[in-house]
């Protein structure tokens, strides 16, 4: 067998105990056909084999992000100014000003997460005065973590928020002494107000969404990501909002492998969504680049904990167990893997009660299922997850919010 591609002279990290420190790999038809030292692997070389000298560099397996919102992120990537890693607010505001200057009407400038004021030397967020001065005409929408969005007056005009606009439940529109919106909108604690306001902005055309998704994948490739599992997302409708990624797969233009979970968009009618998908979507349909992966991370809205640090932790409603049971029973009966957003140990205890009850009647029997986040899970519940064959997907959100919390607790402790 002759290789399409050989990489040699590398420091290749493999988890395989038999080949912990190899230097070369041979690849054919998208698979490794040999992993070993330079001389073994070179035996797979033919005249047409492409051969690359790795120059003794470190090589690791492709990175796989098991919880990301790539599909939605890709549709918006080219629209968003990113402040990730920008070291000062002065830099961030200069970037904002430059982007405002080149953004045509009626487009907005939006900064949607990925930053916190604690990365800035000034250790503060921009003020409403600052963004109004920078952008008198162009709508500016800046999302801060889960808790607030800072909008300039042009953005308030674009979304039509006035003195008479009521805030949705769990959300707040900050008002001045005349009752006019100031531009600050706050999750108290329901983040719906933030995302529904963002959703009022213009989107990219389909062609530009294709382009945007390709550039987002390239950006992920820049950090070594080769696979992801997409956790769905609010306002991310199946199959409409999956057309772009589907077309890219058909054209063989995906550069990241995507497994996707289906996320219900219908509060109180979640069961109908899943019933419909079980009828119309074949489990694991697709191919090795783009593949269905079951249900979640939203299974029923009553099981979703909308907390942020400004608010006490609300208990999940009493009807949660009954609603969750109905949906999970359906999924288990149809052998659909599922994932569930679960932050607090208190919620996890209740979710596990539901799963164990179902398991008594319809054994999970190796059906893979996932808790997402699970940041406060205790040992006992980890044992229960293990007994039911579940897995836990962890993320690094605290790396972005830690100081916020610390400032709050530090002050309290003092």
């Amino acid at each position: 067998m002759k290789a399409d591609l050989i990489l040699f002279n590398g420091k290749i990290h493999s988890f395989n105990a038999e080949t912990p420190n190899v230097t070369a790999v041979a690849i054919k038809d998208g698979k490794f056909i040999a992993v070993g030292n330079d001389s073994n692997v070179m035996e797979f070389a033919a005249e047409e084999t492409k051969i690359i000298d790795l120059q003794n560099r470190r090589v690791v397996p492709g990175i796989n992000d098991s919880h990301i919102h790539l599909i939605r992120g890709g549709l918006n990537y080219n629209l968003e100014l990113r402040w990730d890693g920008v070291p000062s607010l002065a830099d961030a505001l200069r970037m904002l000003k430059e982007q405002v200057d080149r953004t045509p009407n009626p487009q907005w400038v939006r900064v949607v997460g990925g930053w916190s004021e604690f990365q800035f030397a000034e250790r503060r967020m921009p003020t409403l005065e600052e963004i109004n001065a920078i952008a008198p005409e162009t709508p500016v929408f800046i999302l801060h973590l889960y808790d607030r969005a800072i909008m300039n007056r042009a953005a308030l005009r674009a979304v039509g928020y006035t003195k008479n606009t009521p805030a949705p439940p769990g959300g707040q529109i900050e008002r001045d002494s005349n009752g006019e919106p100031t531009g600050l909108i706050i999750a108290t604690p329901n983040a719906m107000i933030l995302y529904s306001t963002l959703a009022k902005g213009p989107t990219l055309s389909y062609e530009h969404q294709i382009n945007s998704t390709r550039h987002f994948m390239k950006e992920l490739n820049r950090f070594g990501i080769t696979s992801v599992i997409d956790a769905g997302g609010g306002f991310q409708n199946f199959p409409d909002d999956y057309k772009v990624v589907n077309e890219l797969n058909e054209k063989k233009q995906l550069t990241v492998r995507i497994a996707y979970n289906l996320f219900t968009q219908k509060p109180k009618h979640e069961f109908e969504d899943f019933e419909d998908w079980i009828d119309t979507v074949k489990l694991h349909q697709g191919d090795d680049m783009y593949r269905h992966n079951g249900a979640g991370e939203m299974l029923v809205f009553s099981a979703a904990d909308f907390e942020d640090f400004l608010q006490p932790r609300p208990d999940l409603p009493e009807n949660m167990e009954a609603e969750l049971e109905k949906v999970v029973r359906l999924l288990v009966e149809n052998r659909w893997p599922f994932r569930l957003h679960a932050t607090y140990n208190e919620s996890i205890t209740r979710f596990l009660n539901v799963f164990e009850k179902i398991n008594q009647e319809i054994p999970f029997n190796g059906l893979p299922w996932i808790f997402d986040h699970a940041e406060t899970i205790d040992e006992r519940n980890i044992e229960r997850v293990k007994n039911l064959g579940g897995g836990i997907a962890v993320q690094s959100r605290m790396a972005y919010q830690g100081e916020y919390f610390t400032d709050r607790y530090g002050a309290k402790a003092a």
Binding site: P61, S88, Q107, A121, E219, K386, Q395, S396, E403, D407
Partner: protein, 203 residues
């Protein structure tokens, strides 16, 4: 305990998608602002990498197909611009790929390997912020942002300031005050995480 665990970011609306920032967090226990939040539960670099490769593969039931460099598995790998296993903690979050291969094809190449790069795709629309800043601000897009910016706006470059600020410098030292002066109840995980919470699914 052998519960499967997968690494991830929950990007893009709160966290960044940069996996090396996550691995820095898992192995060093510091926030992006430099605050030390935990110490005892730091993972080894190998374990953090394993969560983000082999660990994650379980979550789509593809653990036999991907997550390792092994005969018969998908030819997905990354050549790093620096050696993850032999660099200082602070350098972990600066890691980028110099060569990324998916399904046996080169999808990204930079630095010493840039001659293997796939053709550039123009960024649309032309006013897109991506056209100037092109993603997470680190080494590889810095220079081009500086050049594009000076062409586009004929103003002093903001990225030159970003550049002078990457690495250990006065800017990052500021954050240590917060760590010194605070009393994080890291043993009370309930309060610790619970105070922050999450609603990522919401969008």
């Amino acid at each position: 305990m052998e519960v499967p665990v997968g690494g991830g970011s929950d990007a893009t609306r709160v966290s960044s998608y940069n996996p090396w920032v996550s691995m820095y967090w898992m192995t060093v226990g510091k926030t992006v602002g430099g605050l030390q939040l935990y110490n005892e539960s730091r993972l080894s670099r190998e374990t953090a990498l394993e969560l983000y490769t082999r660990g994650s593969a379980w979550f789509s039931q593809e653990q036999a197909k991907k997550g390792d460099i092994r005969t018969g598995m998908f030819a997905d790998l990354v050549v790093l611009d620096r050696d993850y296993f032999n660099i200082d903690d602070e350098d972990i979050k600066k890691i980028e790929a110099d060569l990324t291969i998916v399904d046996g094809k080169i999808v990204y190449a930079n630095g010493d390997f840039s001659s293997f790069s796939p053709p550039h795709i123009p960024i649309l629309p032309d006013w897109s912020p991506t056209n100037i800043y092109n993603g997470y601000p680190t080494r590889s897009n810095l220079q081009s942002a500086i050049e594009k910016n000076s062409k586009a706006t004929a103003k002093p470059s903001l990225t030159s300031q970003i550049h002078s600020c990457s690495g250990s410098c006065d800017v990052h030292a500021h954050s240590h005050d917060v760590a010194r002066m605070s009393n994080v109840p890291v043993n009370n995980y309930n309060a610790f995480w619970g105070a922050l919470g999450c609603s990522c699914f919401a969008f």
